[in-house]
Amino acid sequence: AQSVTQPDIHITVSEGASLELRCNYSYGATPYLFWYVQSPGQGLQLLLKYFSGDTLVQGIKGFEAEFKRSQSSFNLRKPSVHWSDAAEYFCAVGDFNKFYFGSGTKLNVKP
């Protein structure tokens, strides 16, 4: 069965520091992978997605993610975090007309 694991429930980084959020997936075929961000009290917004081609994907707000098939991973990165990046981040895999989300990683940003 398809599944997505985000091993870090909470992460705290200092403003200006680099960030990496981990995501591992279980999927039998070529995965369609997504990262979404949820600000407090809001719905989810797409940051980036991967479904073919270059394994390094650029997204909005300066985020990028790298697909590594050998590690079944799709980690999200940002070189320099801003206070406005504080939010919850969800990794997801698409399977035809269904989508499976990880449990989320909550990011806190220290001034």
Binding site: G43, L44, K49, F51, N97
Partner: protein
């Protein structure tokens, strides 16, 4: 352009009562979805619809029903609410129904079942 609207914003409901959560999109998207979000579990798909007139079951469909009479509306009904249905419910839509589609989410409905 409003995107996706959900109503009500929040609701407290007595167990055993019937409740319909409303979802409307103005993007003319073909596919629509209902998720529930619970702490530590992320989002889980309840039901989906690939196009008007069709619906399908997601991961956690029990206790919920949906209909898709037209493109814009996708209501979710709890026929007889139970406390375990306390959650935040998100409606989403996408232009198509494939695995690579971007989903657009509504602001959510917070439901407390007592």
């Amino acid at each position: 352009i409003a995107g996706i609207t959900q109503a009500p914003t929040s609701q407290i409901l007595a167990a055993g009562r019937r409740m319909t959560l409303r979802c409307t999109q103005d993007m003319r998207h073909n596919a629509m979805y209902w998720y529930r979000q619970d702490l530590g579990l992320g989002l889980r798909l309840i039901h989906y619809s690939n196009t008007a007139g069709t619906t399908g079951k997601g991961e956690v469909p029990d206790g919920y029903s949906v209909s898709r009479a037209n493109t814009d509306d996708f209501p979710l009904t709890l026929a007889s609410a139970v406390p375990s249905q306390t959650s935040v419910y998100f409606c989403a839509s996408s232009e198509g129904s494939g695995s690579s589609e971007t989903q657009y989410f509504g602001p959510g409905t917070r439901l407390l079942v007592l």
